[in-house]
Amino acid sequence: MTVTHSSVDSSTKWSPIGVARSFDRRLTAPGSARTLVQMRTAFVLIIGMRLLLRDWWLESTTPKALFEPVMAVRWLSGPPSSTLVTVLWVVGLVAVVATVAGRWAHFTFVVAWAALLVLCAVWSSSGKVMHNDILLLWGSAPFLFAQAPSRAELDAVDERWGWPPRAALIVVATIYFVAGAQKIRHSGLRWVFSDNLSWVLRQGTSPLPFQIGHTLAPLVWLTAVVSGITLVMELGAPILLGVRKFRLGFLLLAITLHGSIWLTMGLDYYGWILTVAAVTIPMSPLGDWWRQRRFPPRGVDASESPDLGHG
């Protein structure tokens, strides 16, 4: 992230206005068009994966009396017909392909996002709030408002391309933070210093033949440690994602957290892992290195180029 220096002295640097100015400078600084395209492509591919890997037509089998439409689909008087589900699914997938191919990329990204939103909203209209795709939808939302660089602008670095990837990172960090804050708000430190996670594990069902969650549940000291690490990860997300060199570390934590939730409780949160990957990899030293190797500045040997660090 490029930072421009100003003449703010140390006494105002950490004041609320100083912090806000620093945040604004970092958010609106010029950025690489390639980073934007990479992150947008990653998001739309995840959208495509979610569209492909779920049997959305099951939604049509919900009895009308049990269909409780969430806000996003309040306009539906009953569960969608299988025809409507098919139309949304096909339109969404075509839009995914078009976005990846660069055809009217901004418009097609919006279409793909909207198709997934509607299908997920119906899936969530069973009376229980579903969070499986919420990080993906919110994390990719900044790209709904972002301009799309043309092919001629791919090597450009300016203010139009810098903010969407940063905004996505900020949204993802905020969501993890508030998830942790809500635990403190509603349960206090009892969320960590109790047998809370033991009971969460006990009440879950692993997709594997061996119920590893039930085996670990009696180890209250272990579950308390894991609870503490989880809370630190969530509350620390703004820092872990805000500092470039920690981003891949956060991705590893996310893989561990959501992977273990699936292993012990059978809950599908791989969309969260992929979303974290989409916002961290392009905005990490690994992303910089890859862009440097793959797209060296014209007339420069890739092996000798300095780390541009854009994005």
Binding site: L27, V37, Q38, R40, T41, A42, L45, L58, T61, P63, A65, E68, V70, M71, A72, V100, G102, R103, H106, S124, S126, G127, K128, V129, I134, L137, W138, P142, F145, P149, S150, R151, A152, L154, D158, E159, R160, G162, R166, A167, I170, V171, I175, V178, A179, Q182, K183, R185, H186, S194, D195, N196, S198, W199, V200, R202, Q203, V220, W290, R294
Partner: protein, 161 residues
């Protein structure tokens, strides 16, 4: 990671000062706008999907738990649990609505109960009424067993079919 994906309309777009300012303001409005919605939902515990307060596992769980179950009573007074069959497995996701039945109007309650009956193996049975029963349990971490400690009939819905 895919590297292409830019629009193919070409053109050399030089960025003017106005364009830079416009881009900065767009960044601020979008970012602050999205954060404001999230913070509003969290502060107000709003659940209006996709706007949500992100309460993921936020409530402490203990050895005590409870669940709701529908019990069908036939004309002879025999009780049978209402279990959604495999043909309607997707409808099992609606079990979270059972606890809210008492808050609904009589007609809506009846509609939901009938819908659940139709999705169960009791679809063609002669049922006089359906009871919403709340069961309380105490768990044991070592044995992984749940022991039912009490039941309470919360609601009765006349079906008469």
């Amino acid at each position: 990671m895919a590297s292409g994906g830019a629009d193919r309309d070409g053109g050399d777009k030089r960025l003017t000062a106005n364009s830079r300012t416009s881009a900065r303001w767009r960044a601020r409005l979008v970012t602050v706008g999205l954060l404001a919605v999230i913070v509003f939902a969290v502060a107000g515990t709003v659940e209006a999907w996709p706007v949500t307060s992100f309460r993921l596992f936020s409530q402490v769980r203990t050895a005590n738990s409870s669940s709701y179950r529908l019990i069908a009573v036939d004309e002879q007074g025999r009780e049978r649990p209402v279990v959604i069959n495999d043909a309607h497995a997707f409808a099992r996701r609606t079990s979270s609505q059972l606890g809210k039945l008492p808050t609904l109007s009589v007609q809506r309650r009846r509609d939901k109960v009938l819908a659940i009956l139709d999705a169960s193996d009791l679809a063609n049975a002669h049922i006089r009424e359906v009871i919403l029963r709340r069961r309380s349990f105490v768990g044991d971490l070592e044995s992984s067993r749940l022991r039912q400690v009490s039941t309470k009939d919360v609601l009765r819905v006349e079906v008469n079919r």
